[in-house]
């Protein structure tokens, strides 16, 4: 049965990996991911998790070794952050193109420079197009649940794609929360042992990672695109199944007080919890505002988002990353393009907040809503707004 415990979120993620019976873990220490793999290595050292832990010499080798363990046929997990994710970048594309169901936690953190170990989403936004399934979580319970579910989604034979669970560094990873631990029996029933669909086996030799001539390359990319989009159905199925087992339901775009809302905020990750407080207070003050939480980032939930904004007049997209020299934050650009065919469509304004770990209290959201209302009436006058940045 489920057990309620107070635990640091990083450790909860490690226990989720343990409950999922991961067989191989390769990792390199990087802040703020460290607590996750530290705890996993002690679980392996104490034989509480039957797995191989490879202490690689870089994140580049971490993801490369994960491809190796996955190719050998072992259930594989890794975790990283920021510069580490950037160092993996080249290999991330190869992992998904070769269809290895690796599960990775990214404890989101800003990218240099200047050097910052604190939270924002610029690391993962640089890895938008790597062809992995990606979700964002807003609290420890979600981090725990989605880590277990990720294995089931990734390993399904119609999916066979690697998956990233994004959780905000420090402000989520290092927080102690009360959360419900699902017991081993329930997880075992939910997640069967991993049987690789393709592996390197001398009894059935195959060549993996052959090179593609121009005549065949686009066909590979098309397959990848179709598979990633089709994984949507399987993700929904797994989330539903988990909901039935645990009573915790998840959706690609989640709604908070959106009934009758004329103004919608859109957030990802931890910001969502803070925004909820602001929405509560604004609603009490009579402002018709609601909150959309974007959980599924890849494959992008086109239909769910279009449906969710239906009827709103103003959509305020809050980005925790800046696309330097571009049309605002990465989420803003994507949401705008997704909503483009809608008619009528809400005015879409983008706010960039909380870069490099800067605190975002509920008051900021209230201020953003007020500013955005005024700007929307005026024009708007800018492509996007960087909130609270000193001259």
């Amino acid at each position: 049965m489920a057990k309620r415990v107070g635990i640091e979120v990083s450790l909860a993620v490690s226990h989720a990996v343990q409950l999922a019976r991961a067989e191989a873990i390769a990792a390199y220490p990087i802040t703020p991911q460290t607590h996750i793999v530290e705890h996993l290595s002690s679980l392996v050292a104490n034989a509480e998790l039957e797995a191989e832990f490879i202490n690689v010499e870089s994140e580049h080798s971490a993801i490369s070794a994960c491809i190796g363990t996955s190719a050998a046929g072992a259930r594989t997990y890794t975790a990283t952050s920021s510069q580490g994710l950037a160092l993996m970048h080249e290999i991330l594309f190869i992992a998904s193109a070769m269809r290895f169901p690796i599960v990775m936690t990214v404890a989101n953190r800003a990218l240099s420079g200047p050097l910052s170990i604190w939270n924002d989403h610029s690391d993962i936004m640089g890895a938008r197009d790597i062809g992995w399934i990606q979700v964002f979580v807003q609290n420890g319970q979600e981090a725990f649940d989605h880590t277990i579910m990720a294995f089931k989604i990734a390993e399904h034979r119609r999916v066979l794609l690697p998956m990233i669970v994004n959780l905000d560094g420090f402000i989520l990873s290092h927080v102690v929360e009360a959360l419900e631990f699902t017991d081993q029996d329930t997880v075992d029933r939910f997640l069967p042992p991993y049987h690789p669909w393709h592996q390197l086996d001398p009894k059935k030799p195959v060549t993996m990672g052959a090179f593609g001539m121009p005549e065949i390359f686009a066909e590979f990319k098309m397959k990848h695109q179709v598979t990633l989009m089709n994984s949507y159905d399987q993700i929904m199925k797994v989330w539903q199944e988990w909901g039935q087992l645990t009573g915790r339901d998840y959706h690609p775009v989640e709604h908070y007080k959106t009934e009758g809302a004329k103004i919608l905020l859109l957030t990802m990750g931890c910001l969502s919890e803070v925004a909820e407080i602001a929405v509560d207070e604004l609603r009490d003050a009579g402002v018709p505002v609601g909150l959309l939480k974007l959980r599924l980032w890849r494959p992008f939930p086109f239909a769910a988002l279009r449906e969710a904004v239906n009827g709103a007049e103003l959509l305020i997209v809050c980005d925790r990353a800046l696309s330097v020299g571009g049309p605002g934050g990465p989420v803003l650009s994507e949401v705008r393009s997704v909503l483009y065919p809608l008619s009528p469509q809400p005015k879409v304004l983008g706010y960039i907040i909380g870069l490099g770990g800067r605190d975002v209290p509920p008051e900021d959201f209230k201020e953003i809503v007020a500013q955005a209302q005024a700007e929307a009436e005026l024009g708007p006058r800018q492509e996007f707004y960087m909130y609270g940045v000193r001259g």
Partner: protein, 330 residues
């Protein structure tokens, strides 16, 4: 067959080749250049590692000529991921098979893990991953195909290019004699990791190469083999001279054949009297621009290096002290 080694191969002489495996694991139909020393080496290395093996290969000549989808020249299971991470992929493979074996999910013996890469993928961009894998002590064999430059991208210098050689990025000119630095000593770097087996080899000495590879894959822990692979395209040499050039590299002392077992050096092909390096250099267009003083400098350097190697071979102690757990406890 088990007793069949380099010494007996020399005794059997002409019959020896018949005692080697007839199975082909690197098949015909690959697209390597005419006279490719590397293709010859790959074929015999694959025979030596046998059927129960998996190969992780770096990007480079050999990957490109052998794996154009939907065809493949590899009979053993084979994986290519990127240029610089082959040793890391091999680490993962080894760890993966180890845990599957421990959990009883693997029938029979776990396969031997072999990683392969060119000199660029080994001594330049892949050195970090290789060093990490050797340091962690994975049970795998790493094989470097050394054709002494980035031949796949069109003959650019690497840290394995010999002094004075002309490449497209180390061209001789008013202020350049070609490659300005001495070849990086990858073997010494591997030895410095304290791994149980390190060797040099060349397909011109087939039995020597074959038995070294066999020994490497059978040695528990990391093993490293550095194979000189003559490249007629990049070396600007006649395609029918490949085997002869490999022999000349050894006979002149430019590329001595030796092995380092548990830190102990041993020459496996002894050359009683070295030939002058000129015999080796003059057959290659890449050294054509060198004048007498430069050739003399190379000659002196080669002799000095060879002398140092002989001293290491004669040393009464190994490069690093072997110490087993049992002895530690005592």
């Amino acid at each position: 067959m088990d007793k069949f080694d380099v010494a007996s191969s020399q005794k059997y002489d002409v019959y020896a080749s018949r005692l080697l495996p007839k199975e082909e694991y690197f098949t015909s139909g690959h697209r390597s250049c005419q006279g490719c020393g590397e293709a010859l080496a790959v074929r015999w290395v694959c025979k030596a590692i046998g059927k129960n093996a998996v190969i992780a290969h770096a990007t480079g000549c050999m990957e490109i000529v052998s794996s154009g989808f939907p065809q493949t020249a590899w009979v053993q299971p084979w994986i290519h991921v990127a240029f610089e991470n082959t040793a890391a992929v091999a680490s993962g493979l080894e760890a993966g098979y180890k845990i599957l074996a421990r959990k009883g999910k693997l029938a029979g013996h776990p396969p031997k893990v072999v990683a392969m890469g060119g000199d660029g993928g080994t001594s330049d961009i892949g050195l970090q991953a290789l060093s990490g894998a050797m340091e962690r002590g994975h049970d795998f064999t790493y094989i470097c195909w050394d054709n002494e430059a980035y031949m796949n991208t069109g003959i650019q210098r690497s840290s394995s290019t010999p002094y004075g050689a002309m490449t497209t990025t180390s061209p001789p000119g008013k202020r350049s004699i070609g490659q300005p630095t001495w070849k990086k000593n990858m073997v010494a770097i591997a030895v410095a990791h304290g791994i149980p087996y390190v060797a040099t080899a060349c397909p011109s000495y087939l039995f020597d190469l074959y038995f070294k590879v066999k020994r490497a894959v059978e040695t528990p822990g990391p093993a490293y083999i550095h194979i000189l692979s003559v490249c007629p395209t990049g070396w600007r040499s006649a395609t029918d001279l490949t085997v002869r050039l490999g022999r000349l590299a050894v006979e002149t002392g430019v590329f001595p054949l030796y092995e380092v077992v548990d830190g102990r050096y041993r020459l496996t092909i002894e050359i009683p009297k070295l030939r002058p390096v000129k015999d080796y250099l003059r057959l290659q267009g890449r050294f054509r621009h060198l004048r007498e003083p430069e050739i003399e400098f190379i000659q002196r350097q080669v002799l000095a290096h060879y002398d140092l190697l002989l001293k290491k071979c004669a040393a009464p102690y190994p490069e690093f002290p072997p110490l087993s757990h049992a002895e530690e406890g005592a």
